[in-house]
Amino acid sequence: MAEVLVLAEHADGEVKKVTCELLTLARKFGEPAVVWTGPGAEQGQRRCAEFGAARIYVDADPAFDRYVVAPTAELLAELVSDKAPVLVLIAGTGEGKEIAARLAVKTDSGLITDAVDLSADADGNPVAEQSIFGGSTVVHSRVKRGTPIIAMRPHSVAPEPAAGAAELSPVSLAGAADGATITGHVVAERGERPDLTEASIVVSGGRGTGSPEGFGIIEKLADALGAAVGASRAVTDAGWYPHQFQVGQTGKTVSPQLYMAIGISGAIQHRAGMQTSKTIVAINKDPEAPIFELADYGVVGDLFTVVPQLLDEISRRKQL
């Protein structure tokens, strides 16, 4: 059976959830084969097996962690030419999209980014679903040249387990492992809160919070709900909260069970990052704010009176 290559996202031997999502999709089109760059494949093997990987092509050279994008794209290109896969799936993160981009050029193949689902057409070829123009339009497209390369938006499909052998198969990069050099990594503090893109509840604050101190009320509410904190671009531009918590077109895309937009107007660029949330609650003092068009429940009022009352009510209910 033809192979589908899935580039693994992993840190310290731990396979990221998005890789399990890609393996789930890969099974529709062929035999899933994971491509693993850098050390840690032995630790990740079990999880790959649980999601149906038939084998893992491993190049354990630690150099992959020292260079940006280029060597990984080169390894994938070599595997595409050796193994002739029917499809290559890559996580649609900033880095993943760039790997996909270079691979598309190297193999002269069509590239689709930000896909949210994959189905098979009558001939069994992949058709990608994308949500464009801030989510107003749904497009299906396919690759018509080369090997289809598709960068999937993380958290778009539910990972489903299936047994696989996940046999380790060592490979090594023939081309150069170089490019721009990584000299350091600074991890932003997240504290105890859940990851923004994986959280089932996200509480986001906007310019309406007025100041870094005012934004503190968003963190309080998030903690009361066990939620992740998000922010609008107005907030991150002003430096009230760090950039990596920005939700929207140039920030993170989230799709939680509950999204609370507080003091956020709901500009199209913000909506692009949150409008597929299951339930949306908005608190804003302007009844005309566009966020109310999306809200399942909205309160027109001052966040500095509504949110404290909500906090009191939550703690009262917890004590019942």
Binding site: A101, V105, S131, T137, G298
Partner: protein, 264 residues
Amino acid sequence: MNIVVCVKQVPDTAADRKLRPSDATLDRAAVDGLINELDEYAIEEGLQIAEAQREAGAEAEVTIVSMGPEKAAESIRKALSMGADKAVHLLDDGLAGSDALSTSYALAKIIGQAGFDLVICGSESTDARMGVLAAMLAERLGVPQVSLASKVDVDGRVVRIRRVSDEGYHEVEATLPAVISVVEKTNEPRYPSFKGIMAAKKKPVQTLTLADAGIDPAAVGLAGAGTEVVDFAQRPPRQAGVIVKDDGDGGVKVAEFLAAQKFI
């Protein structure tokens, strides 16, 4: 130092953008075009690097490269009025419908011919939203890619950036020539001054056709694209929700809603 900044004219994000039923390409004529906001950061970064070079006694020139229809000339003017020195506009009907693969092929051809030390892109175009062009250009031009920068430093022939990642940032460096892309936290783009707007009118803009640039017409446009649209549809709007006015019990009402939905 030769600095090339890639600038795209895009339809206004706030406008009602639609795909044309005939060929499933964006109906660019129907909506106002404007400069891709994220490219303003690329222009600003180019201008700042050039200014620093000149202050240090070196020569520096900022060239805008844009591929797009006639109207893209407006965005080129804006870039020149911010302070770029000259521009190349790739304009040819044969380009309509180009995808990222073919756009990068055409732009690489032009940039390669113009010569460069540094190519600067925005992090993504607000219409296509692929965020792949810088990587594709680096691949085609055979130079390092220092992309998704939230901070850029050029020190002699070395460029160092902070590359944003999901968890924070990486420190990355490369030697020139290189391709960089910048995110919107890198700098504060300047507004064109009146003087800048007047000066821009006299700055050279070279308009090239595919033939002028030696670009293979079969490799660009809809025919040269590696992908095709199967179908598309407008998403139905979300169902209207319940909006209440806070009459002193807004917080309690939200709590009741959250409890009814089992969130608390």
